[in-house]
Structure formats: C-alpha cells, structure tokens
C-alpha cells in the first residue's frame, strides 16, 4: 500500500518531556508499521483547549486554531490535518466549522491573522488519528499487521468525551461507540462488553482547579472497569489517559480503594501487537505498569 501522508498537529502534551510524550512515541511506532507519514505543521501553536475560553474569549481562541490551519494550508496543502489529542482535534475542527458557518467570523479571524501575514481558508479536513485508522485503513487492514496478538488481556475501551462529542467517529453513537472495542478485538485482546463508563467524563478540564470533583468522576470510571473484569483501560485521549492514570494514589487514599488500573493508548496496544518493543511502544511512560502488556512486549 502506498504511503499515506497527513498534515500533523501534535499538540502541547505530545512534546518531549510532556505528559503525553509516550503517546507520541507509540503513535510514531504505529505509523511506522502502517506506512503513515506525519508532516508536522511548522511552528504550530497551542489550541488553548476548551479551558481557553475564560480568558481567551471567542475570537482569540478561534484565531489560535486558525493560525495552525493557515500554516497547514500553506505548508501541507492538500493533506488532511490529523491530531492525536482529542482537545486539539476538537478545537481545530470546531474552528473550521465555525468559520465555514459564519462569514463574519471568517472575516474577523482573517483580519486577526493578517497581523502576522497569514490567511485561512479552512479547506482541509480536520481528523483524529482514530478516524484515519478506521476510515482510511479499516479493522481488517489494521489486523493484518498484528504479529503478537494481545491474547489473555481484557481491556475496557474508555472513549471519554472529546473524541466522542460533539463530532465523534462516523457511524458510532455518542452513548455507546464501539470502535475501541473493535480495535481491541482486532489486536487480539478481549473488550469489556457494555463498559458502563465508556463515555463518561473524567473531568480532565477541571483536574487542576476542582481536583475532588474530577477525581470522583475518575473513581467511577476505574471502578466500572474493575466491575467489567478489565486488566487495563485503553483510551484515545491524552487528557483522559493522564487524568485516569496518575491520580489513582490520591483516589486510593481518599476513598480507601486499592486501584492500580493501567491506562494505555490505543497506539500503545497497536505498537505492542505490531511487534514493537517496550520502549518503542511508549510503555516506559506508564505510571501504572500494564503488566500483561509489558510481558507481551518483552517476549
């Protein structure tokens, strides 16, 4: 199959020594196997995520994503913009939709961009990496590369919010999307059927400002995974991954629980199944070790 190229928007958390740096490592490994070339948007900036609203307001926030889109149009013309981070994808896609829907927003945004000599048309598709996998490859094609099926692992597919709403993945419902389960199956592992907290919010946006509230949400997400007999949780979102994984100690001390639930990226699962090693799969970035996955990676 021919190499597929995309205009890549990595996002802040994917940077070196940032919270999602291991995500990027596994994405790179996965793309290597699938022959995907990610052309990073030069000099991309932060999308301001959803929390940017309070200080940023409407137009400055749109301008941030518009700048990325303008740079992509300039340097990676003809390619779809692909993001791996749910927040980055959502902010960019939302901006594209808003600009295309409203002439005056388009005009004002371009007025702002003109201050740096840029112009946006919002004519590139904005996609999440998962969409690329499902739509441009498909489960069968993804399954063909599996070298080490992830046998004996039961995985709760935690889709979360922003990869799911308000856009979601084509053909999936907001309340019970099944693509992660299908991916898990494709990689040879066993999905948790009807994982009840599949699309519940982890409170990521408020993890810092309202930790008690967000941790209460995380507790339910992990509990439901244990109820479903999961060995680990898989997620397509760096905010979800970090939020659900790293606060478990604090949750344990507050709620007297004994959580030790690993939370991995789909790309980590895929890298391991595709035969990449422990480090290439980003497994060294796990705060809670997914032992069964580590074992396969180290085989």
């Amino acid at each position: 199959m021919a190499k597929k190229e995309y205009s890549f928007y990595p996002g802040c958390s994917s940077q070196k020594a940032a919270s999602g740096s291991n995500y990027q490592v596994s994405v790179d490994s996965m793309c290597d196997v699938l022959d995907i070339q990610l052309n990073t948007i030069p000099d991309w900036n932060c999308c301001s995520a959803s929390i940017g609203y309070a200080e940023g307001g409407e137009l400055p926030r749109l301008a941030l994503s518009a700048r990325n889109m303008a740079l992509s149009e300039q340097h990676n013309a003809g390619q779809d913009i692909v993001a791996t981070c749910a927040a980055c994808w959502l902010a960019t896609r939302e901006t594209k939709d808003r600009l295309l829907h409203s002439e005056h927003l388009m005009k004002e945004t371009n007025e702002a961009l003109a201050a740096a000599g840029l112009n946006v048309k919002a004519n590139q598709n904005v996609r999440h990496m998962v969409e690329v996998l499902i739509e441009d490859f498909g489960y069968d094609a993804l399954g063909k590369h599996v070298k080490k099926p992830l046998e004996g692992i039961k995985i709760a597919g935690y889709v979360g919010c922003q990869t799911n709403r308000p856009f979601g993945i084509q053909g999936e419902s907001f309340e019970n999307p099944k693509y992660l389960d299908k991916l898990v199956e494709t990689m040879g592992a066993e999905p948790v059927e009807n994982y009840q907290k599949k699309v519940s919010c982890c409170g990521g946006a408020l993890a810092f400002s309202e930790p008690e509230k967000s941790q209460a949400l995380i507790k339910d997400i992990i509990e439901a995974a244990y109820d479903g007999g999961a060995d680990m949780i898989v997620t397509p979102c760096p905010v979800c991954q970090m939020n659900v994984e790293v606060y478990q100690d604090q949750i344990n001390s507050k709620y007297k629980t004994k959580f030790k639930m690993p939370v991995v990226y789909y790309s980590t699962l895929m890298s391991v199944a595709y035969g990449k090693d422990f480090k290439q799969s980003g497994l060294d970035g796990q705060v809670i070790a997914p032992n069964k996955l580590n074992a396969i990676a180290k085989k």
Partner: protein
Amino acid sequence: MSANTAVVERYRNSFLKEVEANVEEGQWVKMCMQCGVCSGSCPLGPAWDHPPQEIFMMIRAGKRDEVLTSSSMWMCTSCYNCIVRCPRELPITHIMHGLANYAHRLGIAPKNQPTRKFAKLFWDNLSKKGRVNELKLGIALYFMNGLVSGIKTALKMAPLGINMVKTKRMSPMEYFGGHGIKDTKGLHAILKKAREIEAAKMQKF
C-alpha cells in the same frame, strides 16, 4: 445595573438581548424549551447551583447579577454531553463558556473561583510562548491561592510529580525555557488584533 434587574424589567428582554449581543452563541438562549436534558447530562451536575436550563430561564427572567456572578458556568468540563443531547440544537457548552467569559470580562465573576483562576494561568502560559509549559502551569497553579496553600498542594502533588518525572512525562528542566513557537511576535499580534475586534463589538447595556 444594580443587584438584579429592577422589578419593571423582569421577564422583559433586556438581559436576554444583552446576552444575545455580547455572549458567545448567546443568540441560542431563546431557543431553549426547558426540557432539562442538559442539566441532567452534566457530569458535574450536582456542583451546579443553577444548571444550564435554569440559567437560560434566569436570563429570560432578567436575573442578570445572579447569572453573571454564579459559579455554575465554571463547573463546565467541556464534555459536550449537553450539546449532543439537546433536542433544540443549543451549543450549551459554548454558551456556558461564553457566559463565564463575559462575567470574567465584566469583572463580576466570582473572585476566588478556582477554574477562573486556572483558566487565566493557562491562557497566560500558552499565549506567552505559543505552547503550554505544563510544569510552569502546574507550579503556578499550586500557588494560585497563595503561598501557604501552594506549598501544601505542592507537597500533596509531589508523588505525582515524581511519577511523571520518572516516566519522562515531565522534566524539571522545562522550568527554564521549555517549548515554544518561533513566531511569538506574530502570534501576539494576532491575539492582540483578535481582542481588539472583539472588544469593538461589545455592546453597552
């Protein structure tokens, strides 16, 4: 305007019109039919003094100060549950963001609202160099409520930080320099211009 809209203005549309003019997606407020699905869908529902649908009614009733000084909108986790379930297509998440932003801009949002403070730190952090510096953001966050509470929080968060450092998902070196874009000047110019355009659009009420 004083505390609440004067009696004579109740259920008249002055505040509604203000929201329509000055709040992001505010023109949708009038389309709510009070079904309450948004209120029931919010993951932080119980933390809202006034859930979205009630806020929409308060806007129509002219309860300007009660709405704008409320901490409720700041509880939004941007999960978009309300948007996808709303039978009337209201972009509720954005309206909540818009109301919070408007209150913040007017300076009447609750002073010590933690998300309000965090959001400001976040924006300042990202807009300075064009990308988020997670470490600096974190540290600033610990101290946003003052030194003593900051040290407490930092101590509480220390094991977490160590875990992150251990797994190379955080680096103390980030504090000095760290990531950023090249064309910070251009970015600042864009943001300045965007703010100017937005400020010029604000209508007086």
